[in-house]
Amino acid sequence: MTPDRLQRIEDLYHSVREATSEERAALLAQSDPELRRDVESLLERQDVHLILDRSIPFPGDAAMTQVNPGARLGPYQVESKLGEGGMGEVFRAIDTRLGRPVAIKFVHEQFTARFEREAHAISSLNHPHICTLYDVGPNYLVMELLEGETMAARLKDGPLPVDQAVRYALQIAAALAEAHERGIVHRDLKPGNLMLVKSGIKVLDFGLATWEGDETLTASRMVIGTPAYMAPEQREGEPADVRTDIYSFGRIFSEMLNGARAASNPKPLGSKPLEKIVRRCLEADPARRWQSAVELINALEAPRPGKRRIWMVTAAAALFAFLLLAAGYVFFRPAPKLTDKDVIVLSDFINETSDPIFDGTLRQGLIIQLEQSPFLKIMDAEQVQRVLQRMTLRPGTRITNPIAREVCVREGAAATIEGAIASLGKNYVITLQAITCHDGATLAREQIQAEDKEHVLNALSSAATGMRGKLGESLASIQKLNRPLAEATTPSMEALQIYTAGYLELSHGNFLGSVPLLERATQVDPKFAMAYYFLSVAADNAGDIALRGEYAKKAFRLVARVSEIERYQITSAYYYAGTGEVDKAIDYYQLGIRTFPRSWSFHNLLSTLYIDVGRYEEGLKEGLEAARLQPNLEQPYRRQLDAYLCLGRFPEARRLAEKLRAQALGGPRIHQRFLEMAYLEGDQAAIAREIQWFAGKPAEYISLGLQAANLNFYGQRRESRKLYLRAAETALRRELPNVAADYEEADARADALSGDCQAVRRLGRPAEMLAMCDGVVQAEKIAADISKLFPNGTIWNEVQLPEIRAAVALNHNQPATSVELLASASPYELAYLEAIYLRGLAYLRLHKGVEAAAEFQKIVDNKGASWASLWRYPYWGQFYSLSYLGMARGSMLAGDTAKSRRAFEDFFKLWRDADPEIPMLQQARAEYRKLQ
């Protein structure tokens, strides 16, 4: 269509339209057929009501009473009809934004503006015994979907047991107290408006009687409704107030006690105090009734059978009355929604903006914000992932609201928090909603608007803070431990988004994949402390100790800008990985435990640290506590297994292993321990099973490294070397050069320990072996470099540096100095058997046979620790075998030939199939021959 052509059409159209009917036909007949058809088709429409004739309808126009199942109403997908009443129809529907089932009640006419204002107040009502109003349309209400029967239906079966009636009465009164406090009067309280659900009573339709407009609230209209429950003044058209509800309450309570039919003619109740309560509710004069629901609650709560109390007008009595009132009030406050035993599952936010930046980011932001609470417990990402796996969903599956609820139910958690973000022009609206998973009741709801994208994180923080209060956390706790995201974690939405992606990778075990993301997050926000923290964790997983320390230090420099829980994490990591100051790290972990008693993670970290420094008993205690707080994750069990093995408590380790296997709990790090245990106990079937478990898995390098270490145990260096090589190659393929380097080093160390220095010299490390192999200068250089990294490191200064220096002293033939140097290692030596071994060697050199044998005996006595103390260095097994040789030599020096011979024989038994060319073995044979 060209403008010219259009012009011709328009000209003809106007000519025809303005022409008389005779002219019309002629005009059209003259035109070419196509033009004619065009114009005719336009003319046909001129008298029809067209879209442009409608004014643009803004909200309010769309009358939507004709709704059927399957219809879509804004975000609501209508599913099925639940019922019909005088007021309208009720449907079950799904709020597609939250994936939440709701009930929608349609009424036959549109709401008044006044009612809508009131509806806003009603929707703010949030109470376990009030049916929550979610949304109000022009002629419909969206409400919490409840399943159960109405009190009216229940009462048809007769009266309720007194205890139950009182319990329900208290719940209704509590609901009234909450609403009245907010200035909302029910106005139409009746058994038909009370639902009996699992959690007790739900009061429906709060304040909705006003939708008809209470200026026009005619008696006739209401009388058609439910006159039986209506207060006398209400029937006379006087304005309703809280005491009107008290009257209706009295009617209902009486029916609950007496049965529906009896209520109009109440017979004396069994209980005098209850009778009195009801009577006072039903006083015709509002001034003579209970004046508030709180008063009513106190009366209901008063011990039955009630003794008449004579109130004395004294300060004491007044105080007592006040306390009683306060106690009743506190008890029935809407407050404690959750307890500090409950766990919450967070859904992914429903992102209704077109901006993908909010995907995933807001959930992470919410976690960060809520984790600051010592009261709430958010289900760990790892646990959620495990449940997803059991639900046969891919890891990283979006946690939609239904999935979150499923996870919540499966894991016995208390509630889910659902979130949504929508845009409103430049503005954004964030909605949070806590929902119990057993009955879908709304516990709390927060909706906050952000003026633009930059303020979204702030709004999220505020919403989360509001949520904490509504879920039952004390104000004092919130004030003490609450820092807005923007001040704490990061003010940058973009950085948070990238960080979230990185954190997810990390929590799925892909620590390498997490690194570039976390690094990018620190580029976007160079002050993003937690991103550095997790980079440190990733480096730790990748075995890069230097980088781990570097990132821990970077995080620590920014610690002023983090939340309290993050501060403890970062600070303890700084002392642990950054400076190596173990005592300070322990202090901070303990502080973390005290401040966040529900966090398993501080217990777990502290346990790791204790085990690292050989404090196995304490490590076990913390590991048990971590598992108590978080029984569904494997980390605390790793701690327990390590502690049991290091303590030589094998039967307990075995029992735990069986339990874990039964629960199918355990990744590579758990199976690593299973394999260690199998080696320790010489359980061939278990060894085969565990090796098979690792076969072909990305983490197979762990199994290969342990197999190599085990062969060292038997002196089979050639086969061991092959396996170390394979372990290193496998680790390299997984881009873990530091782990590969560890295996290389372990192999060289095993050679050096058994008397072959070539590999150590070629490799130029490890330092203490270099020192023993005449590479003193190089060893000291390595030591100096590491000292620069950890000038105050506890383990470095007390254990590892002394080991190198002791080795150097041995090489310089100063064994006394070696023994002296190693004294500082004693408190930690059970985790650092190398120090014991070196001390044994020094005593041998000093010809102190008894002392030497005692040192080597320690290693033999702690067989478990030889295997399990540090997973990253699976070469300890060799120290164990060689310690028999050391004992043999020590006993020989001490003149105990019998003991020496036994130790030699034990050693040869272990090394029965050892490579014959090993220098240490040949020497040992020669020494043994001399002994004969």
Binding site: M1, L52, P75
Partner: protein, 184 residues
């Protein structure tokens, strides 16, 4: 505020392009704000019409005693364009949302209350109007001013500098043309 807007309006009228930019921003924000407020509170019975809305914004933003009649028309012409954008964007977002497209701007308040039919026709109308503007720019402009901006015929005369008869003929033709396009 009011004085600023009034001055901006005058400056624009005198040919200052930068003033238009600033003015547009204010007017757009205000229109959105008002639209939202109305959506929240005025659902009962009487439809809020775009005309009333634009007029309300105008009265709020501009000191009417200090501007000329022509300037008022210019203001309304600008507001009409914006109103079209606001309404169509909202409708498009809702319509997309209904098709299950997740990541679309959806306005919470609007979502709940406009009927699906209307959303679709609003988006379709916008598209048809765009196409129409290629072959009949003046006629399309008349539609925008009158339908989205709520301008009176006399005001359109002023803004577009055309005769009243042309305004009427343009409107009449556009309404049937667009209706046919939408039916097609």
């Amino acid at each position: 505020m009011q004085a600023d807007i009034t001055n901006l309006l005058k400056a624009w009228s005198a040919g200052d392009g930068a003033a238009l930019d600033q003015l547009s921003k204010h007017v757009y924000d205000e229109l959105r704000l008002m639209a939202r407020r109305h959506m929240k509170n005025e659902r009962k019975g009487n439809t809020l019409q775009t005309t009333a809305l634009v007029n309300e914004v105008y009265l709020r933003l501009v000191d009417v005693t200090k501007v000329e009649w022509q300037q008022r028309s210019q203001f309304f012409a600008m507001a009409a364009q914006m109103m079209r954008r606001i309404l169509v964007d909202a409708a498009r977002a809702r319509a997309s949302h209904k098709r299950g497209a997740g990541a679309v701007h959806v306005n919470f308040d609007e979502t709940a209350v406009l009927s699906p039919d209307l959303d679709r026709s609003m988006v379709a109308l916008d598209e048809a109007l765009d196409a129409f503007a290629h072959i009949a720019p003046r006629q399309a402009k008349v539609v925008e001013l009158r339908y989205f901006g709520g301008l009176k015929e006399e005001e359109i005369v002023e803004v577009l500098k055309i005769s009243l008869r042309t305004v009427r003929r343009d409107w009449e033709f556009a309404r049937v043309w667009l209706a046919r396009e939408l039916d097609g």
